[in-house]
């Protein structure tokens, strides 16, 4: 290296590092700003429902939460039935969709021949693109009659099991909480399975190959290597699906039966927060409108609590594993 060419380099790097630092600062600021926009969107939406629903929320307070009496004529509003319906249908949807999504992701990343993976994953993702009103119409005209035809068998078999039997009794109408849960499960499948598939692919081949080399079966590699490596993202994907299930309106509305009477059976009609809003909002005025917006606020609160519980359970799980 000659002295003449060595001299300008430090000045150049110094200049570069200064502009780099400025760019970095600006970049960081930009990212932070965008993240704040997300914060603002949520707070804005939540606060606007709090404001819109203030008449009912502050007048009725806790009675709004725990009463199942929903009477727009008398301006009596209790949100218990919608809350229960939302939680039950979302739970059914998760119970069904999570294992199936896992199976799909496993199949698409480890088992399927390469040529099959692209088209099949695009097809599964397509389930997310079907407008929810179509899920509703398909549910109403095709799936409800189908469920009505299998429900007698369901109540004859599962209905006789001592404790959970009560869940499967009732007239075979085809509509109700169970049907809504199944339709929701199909709707959230693509969200959960796409994320799972995508993150399963990011597992370094090294890790998997080492495990295979030790004689693991495909299943063991997925269960013991891939899943632990990607767990946080998998849970993220499940939340993505849960979020969709909690807030879904149109599809549920068509198959839920929309009854404010609470029942123990999953085969009976129920209602959910978002379907109540979708059903009644357009024609509602005054207090009724306020009650429906208050329901919207309640969904934020319910989601908040559900996510909080989920996080708590995750933390327990991590503690058990000694992390």
């Amino acid at each position: 290296m000659s002295a003449t060419s060595a001299e300008p380099i430090p000045r150049d790097t110094e200049h570069r590092s200064r502009t780099d630092a400025r760019h970095d600062l600006f970049f960081r600021f930009l990212l932070r700003f965008c993240a704040m926009l997300v914060l603002a969107a949520l707070l804005g939406a939540a606060l606007s429902t709090l404001w819109g629903g203030r008449e009912v929320l502050f007048k009725d307070g806790f009675r709004f939460l725990f009463s199942s009496d929903w009477n727009p004529v008398e301006n009596q509003f209790g949100a218990l039935a919608p809350i229960v319906g939302t939680l039950v249908t979302s739970l059914i949807a998760l119970l069904l969709a999570v294992p199936v999504s896992f199976g799909i992701a496993l199949f698409l990343t480890e088992i399927a021949p390469r040529w099959m993976r692209g088209p099949v994953s695009a097809a599964i993702e397509l389930l997310a693109a079907i407008p929810s009103i179509i899920y509703g119409m398909w549910g109403l005209f095709v799936f409800v009659p189908f469920m009505a035809s299998i429900e007698p068998t369901l109540s004859d078999t599962l209905g006789n099991i001592p404790v959970i039997g009560a869940l499967f009794q009732g007239p075979p109408l085809g509509l109700g909480l169970l049907t809504a849960g199944i339709v929701l499960a199909v709707m959230i499948l693509p969200f959960i399975s796409s994320v799972m598939r995508e993150v399963f692919q990011t597992v370094p081949a090294r890790l998997k190959e080492s495990s295979y080399a030790l004689g693991s079966t495909t299943w063991e590699v997925v269960w013991d290597i891939v899943l632990p490596y990607t767990r946080s993202a998998v849970i993220g994907g499940i939340f993505l699906g849960l979020g969709r299930a909690l807030g879904e309106t149109m599809a549920v509305t068509f198959v839920l039966g929309n009854s404010y009477n609470l029942t123990a059976s999953l085969l009976m009609p129920g209602t959910s927060i978002s379907s109540s809003i979708a059903n009644e909002f357009n024609e509602a005025v005054g207090m009724h409108r306020s009650a429906l917006i208050a329901l919207g606020f309640l969904l934020f609160v319910v989601t908040f609590i559900v996510l909080l519980i989920a996080r708590f359970m995750l933390r327990q799980l991590q503690r058990k594993e000694g992390r």
């Binding site: 914060l39 804005g44 939540a46 896992f102 496993l106 407008p131 990011t202 079966t217 978002s274």
Partner: protein, 288 residues
């Protein structure tokens, strides 16, 4: 020993069979729903769908709704994709273990489940009402307001997936790049984003798939229009709102058009998803 081995291989076979079955279940539902949609809507799929407007419903046209939806979906993506990707990047790269990051992540998950009609009302308050008052009613509902509402629906999906996908990029990649003296922003934009590209793209496509079918947030923002317009500040028609109105119409011909419209939306998202995948998978190969 061999008993253990046999058990392991049985578990393996059962699990793999079940996973194949799960995929089959997913595909069966897809085919079932598409079949029903096609059966009901195929009769209405004619050239008139693309040439006539909804004002003359009997002529079987959806052209103004198609144009409106295309414009609003694309504008929504232009709004929410950059913001969502950058916000997700912030969470993954700058705030992965801070309290602020945890809070935003948590609130983003709540935003995911916000009922879309509530988001529509929010946009009604922050966009439609101000423009109405500022322009004396000349600009009230608009395609622009509609796309803001749709963007709010796509945003949390993109944030969530970008965040997850970037976190999965191995730390060694960051260290290698940083040790070369690359500034953080270049590292993020050119190394990490590229490494996580296919995952982020999945997020954007899922967001598009979700917002393309939304009805409720458009009623109070884009409103709807029976006539053709491409101006973003006009009241604008959209496929989902038209489908929603047609399904509740007594006229069975309109039901068929609604099903045909649904088929179009689904095919549109399918085409877009395949196209982007083909485009970018080719690119990926050339880099490797």
């Amino acid at each position: 020993m061999s008993a253990v081995y046999a058990r392991r291989s049985v578990v393996n076979i059962v699990a793999l069979t079940l996973s194949g079955l799960a995929t089959l279940i997913g595909l069966i539902f897809l085919v079932w729903i598409l079949w029903v949609t096609a059966q009901n809507g195929l009769g209405a799929i004619k050239l008139s769908l693309f040439t006539k407007i909804t004002a003359y419903a009997d002529q079987g046209g959806l052209s103004n709704a198609i144009v409106g939806s295309l414009i609003m979906d694309l504008m929504a993506l232009l709004i929410c994709a950059p913001i969502g990707v950058l916000a997700g990047t912030y969470l993954a790269e700058y705030a992965s273990s801070t309290r602020l990051g945890a809070t935003i992540r948590f609130l983003n998950d709540i935003l995911l489940s916000a009922p879309s009609i509530v988001l529509g009302l929010f946009v009604y308050v922050i966009v439609v009402i101000p423009t109405t008052e500022l322009t004396d009613g000349r600009i009230s509902f608009s395609g622009f307001a509609g796309s803001v509402a749709l963007a709010l629906i796509g945003l949390p999906v993109i944030v969530r997936t970008t965040d997850e996908m970037l976190q999965l990029v191995p730390g060694t990649l960051r260290e290698a790049a940083l040790s070369l003296g690359i500034p953080q922003w270049k590292l993020t934009m050119q190394v990490l984003m590229r490494a996580a590209f296919s995952g982020i793209l999945t997020g954007v496509l899922l967001a598009l798939a979700r917002l393309a079918g939304e009805t409720a947030p458009l009623l109070f923002t884009a409103f709807g229009n029976n006539f053709m317009t491409a101006h973003p500040l006009d009241k604008m028609a959209s496929m989902p709102v038209t489908i929603y109105q047609y399904t509740n119409d007594p006229n069975p011909t309109l039901h068929a058009i609604a099903w045909a419209g649904a088929l179009l939306i689904t095919l549109f998202v399918l085409a877009l998803s395949l196209l982007t995948r083909i485009m970018f998978s080719r690119k990926k190969v050339s880099y490797e």
